[in-house]
């Protein structure tokens, strides 16, 4: 018997009962769909994260005041921003300073203690350049507006205050401020997203701001980051460098790359269970098929088929059945991945390793499921097989 004949003979049973074949391969299809979709979505998310990290850059460091020896809050010196800008390799520096004792509210009727979690920050004019941010409406603070009661809202702050357009008034520190700009989200500086930004001079004259920066943002060339980091604390606060906290915001995003969510594992596990159940379904179908086709088995034995021919035929039929389920699962799984990626704006990646693993799992399940039925078919003596009909 030829190999090409084995392929043709092994699909004859499936062609004879297509509805049953489709129903019995559903379990395999569901299992492979789950595996391909989970692995593919996970790969697309990672690719999206990598693209985000590379567009945001990993060359930004932040400097913030830490705690002193006794647990008290420390301050960065007023001149620390200028000092940091003089470090070799630094390209741009900016800072914000927390304006204590004031909250921003929609109207003067709202309790001053109801801050909505929005901080009032004095911001330098070069902040947006250093963060690589942009405005969605209006403009950022300028030399003209930083001296007057004008405010720029971070993305989260704007939505919490219900401010949707430039020109609205918000109540800040016992007087009205005019919203002049709304910021796009800043993934590397989420604290700015939740802040109302006012000019440095107006904060000092009208809001009692001390002038001490609370976060310094610094960008350097990629290769200079390590060197800058070493001297940053001592430069920002030469008297008490131990009271300075230096961090790299992109580290949080990079760490996400390494973590694979627990949901991935859960869905992979569910996929494996579906595959197992699908395999049992295929085994059942094959056992019934062997019982029903005893006449055919007897006929094939009378045409000269050996036990090995019969075994190979039913094993191949089981593998082909499961492989069909695998192919359907791969197609649906890829469709899910592509749909998810398009909906989320992620780069469309085809999970080739998941496709290979899914198909291999399907065929392996099919062979395992076919072993027992094929063995039964092969052990059937020709006379028993013919007498059964």
């Amino acid at each position: 018997m030829r190999v090409s004949d084995l392929g043709r003979e092994s699909t004859s049973g499936l062609r004879g009962r297509p509805a049953r074949a489709v129903l019995s391969l559903l379990g395999i299809a569901v299992g492979v769909t789950a595996m391909v979709a989970v692995l593919g979505i996970s790969a697309a998310s990672q690719a999206g994260l990598i693209a985000q990290i590379s567009s945001l850059g990993t060359n930004m460091l932040t400097v913030a005041p830490g705690r002193d020896l006794f647990g008290g809050q420390t301050e960065l010196p007023v001149e620390s921003v200028a000092m940091v800008s003089r470090i070799e390799g630094v390209r741009s520096v900016s800072a914000v300073g927390a304006v204590g004792g004031h909250s921003v509210r929609r109207t003067d009727k709202i309790d001053p203690d109801d801050t909505n979690g929005i901080a009032v920050l004095a911001a330098r004019l070069d902040l947006l350049d250093t963060l690589g941010g942009s405005v969605t409406a209006g403009s950022y603070l300028s030399p003209a507006t930083e001296r007057y009661p004008a405010v720029v809202l971070g993305a989260v702050a704007a939505s919490r205050l219900g401010v949707g357009s430039v020109g609205d008034q918000v109540y800040l520190g016992e007087r009205w401020f005019t919203v002049v700009g709304l910021l796009a989200p800043l993934p590397l500086a989420p604290e700015v997203d939740r802040a109302a930004l006012v000019g440095w001079p107006v904060a000092q004259t009208d809001l009692g701001f001390s002038g001490h920066p609370t976060t310094i943002y610094e960008r350097s060339a990629d290769e200079a980051v390590a060197g800058v980091r070493q001297v940053l604390a001592a430069t920002a606060n030469p008297e008490n460098p131990q009271n300075v906290a230096v961090s790299r915001p992109s580290d949080a995003l990079t760490a996400q790359l390494a973590t694979r969510s627990a949901f991935d594992q859960l869905f992979l596990g569910l996929g494996a269970v579906a595959l197992l159940v699908g395999g049992i379904g295929v085994a059942n179908t094959m056992i019934i098929s062997v019982l029903e086709r005893r006449g055919e088995i007897g006929m094939r034995r009378s045409l000269g088929a050996t036990r090995r021919h019969i075994r190979a035929q039913f094993l191949a039929e089981s593998a082909v059945l499961s492989a069909l389920g695998g192919v359907i699962g791969v197609v649906v799984g890829i469709a899910v991945c592509v749909g998810y990626s398009l909906a989320r704006g992620l780069p469309v990646t085809l999970p080739w390793t998941a496709v290979g693993a899914g198909l291999a799992a399907a065929v392996g399940t099919g062979i395992a499921a076919g072993l027992y039925p094929a063995g039964r078919a092969a052990r059937l003596s020709p006379t028993e097989a013919l007498a059964a009909v």
Binding site: M1, R15, S302, G304, V389
Partner: protein
């Protein structure tokens, strides 16, 4: 005359101790057309399975073209069936999804003949049994008589030395049955050795040699009576 099948003192007891054959001795020679006739349960199907190497006897010996069945492996038995013996069954056993020509070509699958040559040979044999115009029809679109002729063509496609037919007319009306019997006569005249199993004495009476079997033993053999006349 060459001896094609020789059964000597053959007994067959199935699992559970049911004896199907007790003591059968029978010789089928080249070119014969033999009817083995008996009521149901007489053991005639068991005898056909033994003659066709589908089963082995529990006592006695069966030789097919000189080979003792009890001395060869399953693989050799399968090869003997593939090359030497063609089977025709009451139930036809045709593949429902296959055309007539593909059904007949199945008779050569286990000899390793390439598909193109199988189909050409199948078409020739279908022509020989009078179905040259039905090559691409599936069994569902054919009458019972036509189906049995497809099954006979499948039995012949490997050019076997012996054709064994188990109740070939059992599922057919008398007209179709007569066509099938005529075909078997014609094939026999063309040189094929044929053994027909039947419970129908009318069918048996139309064949030149009749072996009557009852309760697992031969009770009459027309060749033995007319043996002297040859």
């Amino acid at each position: 005359m060459t001896e094609m099948i020789t059964a000597s003192q053959v007994g067959k007891v199935y699992r559970g101790g049911v004896p199907a054959l007790t003591d059968v001795s029978l010789t089928v020679r080249k070119g014969e057309l033999v009817a083995i006739v008996g009521p149901s349960g007489s053991g005639k199907s068991t005898l056909l399975h033994l003659m066709g190497t589908l089963d082995t006897p529990t006592s006695g010996t069966v030789r097919v073209l000189g080979l003792d069945l009890s001395e060869v492996s399953d693989g050799t038995l399968s090869a003997m069936r593939a090359h030497w013996i063609g089977f025709v069954f009451q139930q036809f056993f045709l593949g429902a999804t296959l055309s007539a020509v593909d059904n007949v070509a199945q008779g050569l699958v286990y000899q390793g003949v390439p598909r193109g040559r199988r189909r050409r040979r199948a078409a020739e044999v279908l022509d020989r049994v009078g179905l040259g115009h039905r090559l691409d029809h599936r069994p569902a679109r054919m009458s019972g008589g036509e189906r049995q002729r497809v099954a006979i063509a499948r039995a012949l496609v490997a050019d076997p030395a012996i054709v064994l037919a188990d109740e070939p007319t059992g599922n057919l009306d008398s007209a179709s049955g007569a066509v099938v019997l005529d075909l078997l006569h014609q094939l026999n005249r063309e040189g094929t050795t044929i053994v027909v199993i039947t419970h129908d004495t009318d069918v048996a009476d139309r064949l030149p040699r009749r072996v009557r079997i009852r309760d697992g033993a031969v009770v009459a053999d027309s060749a033995a009576v007319s043996g002297g006349a040859g």
